[in-house]
């Protein structure tokens, strides 16, 4: 039983061991029966029971034994036929049934001093049993002998011998003791089945275990390995001819052992071999290791292989031969080719990308990039390998890019616009997008860059157009405001024209009236003069006549001013220094004004361009304005006269600190006959206005009641005047 367990323990899967275990189990059952029945104290029914159990063993052991031998002698074909098992175990099962049911083999048990002995039934079953196991064992023995003869290895031969002799011994001993003697009714000697079984089993174990284990010597192992290995192994003799090739070689190249043996190695070698390319065969130097070459098959096809050779030397150092091991790499080659193709396609795709493409790891080493990346940055492959991503950007962009890369590694995706700086320092705008991914714990950033220079240019162009538009808009607004201004001007001019027309018709009327009044006035004046030529003693009359004359003179003055107003002519124009012109007028009135506590402050801008005007007319205007200013300050004050030049005009200000003009009156002051003065005609300012207008100038008043009034005259400087 221990032996059975041992066999199974050695290799529970091996069919040999399993069968052996079954065979041993039979022997164990048989021995168990012997142990129980060979005790004198065992009652008969117990002995019968154990004989029944033991019969499983002694009836079927021979079947298992033959099975075992068949496996041992490698009769694989026979083992595959199912009828074998019917033959082996069909009869024993019938015998077993007959013995159990009808005691067809063991008829009776007889008590002996050592225990119980067996009485064989004198039946057909008994003899069937005898002949069955005898035949089966003899067949097994025959097979063993045959196998022993054909076996090459000594170990196997020894194994066979041990098995053969233990079997023979056990068979003879067992048959005599357990079959022949009981048949002869000699029961004095107890059945020694257990002893014979022990011998048999022991021999078997010894043969199988000892020699089976001993079979795995380096040589045997090498044989085994060589014949089973998937790599090609070729042995060359000292002359370089093929001594042997393993199965893998034959399968790979399509030769048989017979065809290949003795042939020169060149038969197998393909085009590119160390043997053919080198003058001295490298094979013999043992220098070939993992060399990629090819073997030529019988049909002439080339099989890519990885070849390693080792030279076998004798103890004296002489070359005995060469062992060539070649590994078929056609599959790997195919995969490699596919990978290479894939890689080429990828490279082609990458290079065909319109923008730039690059791949770098989390340490910032560039791993891959497209041709555009080289052409655009201007760096060579070798340079890029040494560069970091930040090296292709300008200093001012670096922090931004660094942040973006960190963000990409953090978020997985990032996109930004930045200027790429080429090797020559030129800047090109790109839209960069990067995506990170993880391969075996290493992070990579795959990035692309699209040239947005054109877009930027367009954007700038657009911006410029927008600015232009904005400019146009502003210009339009300006034009509009100009238009508005012009419109206002036009309205003003229109108003002025209306005013002028009014004044013109008024002027005509005034001229007519003046002429009509002139004659009566002259008659009155003349008559008064004539009267005064008489010797008048009446003083009262004389006085009256003087009053008449004075009033006539006054009326004459009014008429003359009216006429002057009605004329609106420029008068006698010549180059005039406006400062001198003002000063002339001022000097006329200064003394008179000082008596009324009115002071004149002069603020003349020197060297003003001269104007083409009629001095006399200007004197009248200045006198008018000065009188107005003085009259506005009944308690005295200062009149400031300022002259200045602005662009193409000369400005004259008469500023008083008088009562001012109420707002509602400002617009009316130039209207003829508008006056707030008791003795005024309302013609002064309207005459001034019409004269200034005749010179193309402007006149206006700025006034704050209680603070004073400034009369402003603007006169154009004609081109060419100095």
């Amino acid at each position: 039983m221990t032996l059975a367990g041992f066999a199974l323990y050695k290799n529970p899967r091996s069919p040999l061991n399993r069968t052996f275990a079954a065979f041993l189990a039979c022997l164990v059952l048989w021995s168990l029966e012997n142990i129980v029945t060979q005790s004198p104290d065992t009652p008969q029914d117990i002995a019968r029971l154990f004989d029944n159990i033991g019969s499983i063993g002694w009836i079927s052991f021979s079947g298992f034994y033959l099975w075992l031998i068949l496996i041992f002698t490698e009769k694989k074909k026979i083992l595959k036929t199912k009828i074998l098992y019917l033959l082996l175990f069909g009869l024993p099962l019938v015998l077993l049934y007959k013995n159990w049911a009808a005691h067809a083999i063991i008829k009776d048990l007889v008590r002996q001093p050592y225990g119980w002995s067996f009485i064989y039934a004198n039946s057909v079953w008994t003899y069937l049993y005898f002949s069955y196991y005898m035949a089966v064992i003899l067949i097994a023995l025959y097979l063993l002998v045959q196998y022993g003869k054909s076996a090459h290895e000594t170990n196997r031969k020894k194994q066979v011998a041990v098995m053969f002799f233990t079997t023979i011994a056990s068979l003879i001993l067992g048959t005599i003791n357990d079959v022949v003697l009981p048949e002869l009714n000699i029961h004095t000697i107890p059945p020694m089945g257990n002893i014979t079984a022990l011998i048999w089993a022991g021999g078997m174990i010894f043969a199988m275990e000892r020699y089976k284990l001993l079979v795995i010597t380096p040589t045997v192992a090498a044989d085994e390995i060589i014949s089973r290995m998937s790599d090609s192994l070729v042995l060359l003799d000292a002359k370089g001819n093929i001594a042997a090739a393993n199965n893998a070689t034959l399968r790979l190249l399509g030769y048989t052992q017979h065809e290949i043996a003795g042939e020169p190695i060149a038969l197998l070698l393909g085009e590119k071999t160390p043997d053919k390319t080198e003058k001295e065969p490298l094979l013999w130097k043992g220098l070939v290791k993992d060399y990629e070459t090819s073997y030529r098959t019988k049909t002439g096809a080339l099989v890519p292989v990885i070849l390693s050779c080792s030279v076998v030397r004798s103890s004296e150092g002489g070359t005995m031969g060469v062992v060539m091991v070649a590994h078929d790499i056609s599959e790997r080659k195919k995969t490699q080719d596919a990978v290479l193709k894939e890689k080429n396609i990828s490279a082609a795709i990458i290079n065909s990308l319109p923008g730039i493409f690059y791949l770098f790891d989390d340490k910032g080493n560039f791993l891959q990039w497209n041709k555009n990346f080289e052409t655009i940055t201007g760096y060579a492959k070798e340079e890029i390998r040494e560069m970091k991503p930040l090296d292709i950007f300008g200093e001012e962009d670096k922090q931004r890019i660094r942040d973006a890369i960190q963000q990409a590694f953090f978020k997985g995706k990032v996109s930004m616009e930045a200027d790429l700086m080429t090797k020559s320092g030129e800047k090109v705008s790109y839209l960069f997008s990067g995506e990170t991914f993880d391969i075996e714990g290493v992070q990579y950033l795959l990035g692309t860059g699209l040239d947005i220079n054109q877009r930027m240019k367009k954007e700038k162009e657009l911006e410029r157009i927008n600015m232009k538009l904005e400019g146009s808009e502003k210009a339009l607004v300006n034009i509009l405001s100009d238009l508005k201004y012009s419109h206002e001007e036009l309205q003003n001019t229109q108003a002025q024209l209306i005013q002028s027309a009014k004044l013109a018709s008024l002027g005509k009327l005034i001229a007519d009236i003046a002429h009509e009044i002139n004659n009566p006035l002259m008659i009155i004046l003349g008559r008064a003069q004539l009267s005064l030529m008489e010797d008048i003693t009446n003083e009262e009359l004389k006085n009256n006549l003087h009053i008449i004359m004075n009033q006539c003179d006054r009326a004459k003055g009014i008429i003359q001013r009216l006429l002057m107003f009605s004329k609106q002519t420029k008068g006698e124009v010549k180059n005039t220094d406006i400062n001198q012109c003002i000063e002339f007028t001022v000097q006329l009135i200064e003394h008179q004004f000082s008596l009324k506590n009115v002071k004149i402050i002069r603020q003349y801008e020197p060297l003003l361009p001269s104007l083409r005007i009629d001095e006399k007319r200007m004197h009248e205007i200045f006198l008018n304005l000065l009188n107005n200013a003085q009259e506005a300050m009944p308690n005295g004050g200062a009149i400031t006269i300022t002259t200045s030049s602005e662009k193409n005009t000369i400005r004259i200000d008469f500023k008083d600190a008088g009562v001012g003009i109420p707002k509602e009156n400002i617009a009316k002051i130039f209207d003829p006959f508008f006056t707030t003065k008791e003795k005024g005609t309302g013609l002064g300012l309207s005459i001034c206005y019409s004269i200034i207008k005749a010179y193309g100038g402007e006149m206006r008043h700025e006034s704050k009641p209680g603070e004073g009034t400034t009369a402003i005259i603007l006169l154009p400087i004609e081109e060419g005047t100095v």
Binding site: H515, N518, N519, M522, I523, L525, G526, M533, L563, E572
Partner: protein, 120 residues
Amino acid sequence: MKRKILVVDDEPEILALLGEYLTKKGFQVTKCSGGEEALATVKSGRTFDIILLDGRMPGIDGIAVLEEFENMKFNIPVIFLTGDIDWEAKHCDVKVDSFINKPVDLHKLLDKINKILKVR
């Protein structure tokens, strides 16, 4: 011998005034009440030392008379009486010895007449 003066004006009161005054001042005064009459008087062969001519008159006015005088190569000095304040500027092409603005101060007129006659 009295200086002969021709006074031309359409206004009878003016004629009367000037006649009265100038007579008093020792002039022999001939009065005409219009341009036609004045021209007729001058063409009749009567001679004058000086002529006072009013500008604004119905029919042949002062300017027309002056032009006719020009045509006649008439060289008696003429003082032109006008209400027009800038008459001189307007009629610088018309040959006239002097002009005086209406309403006329009689004494100033006499000064002017005397001044012109003295030159002669």
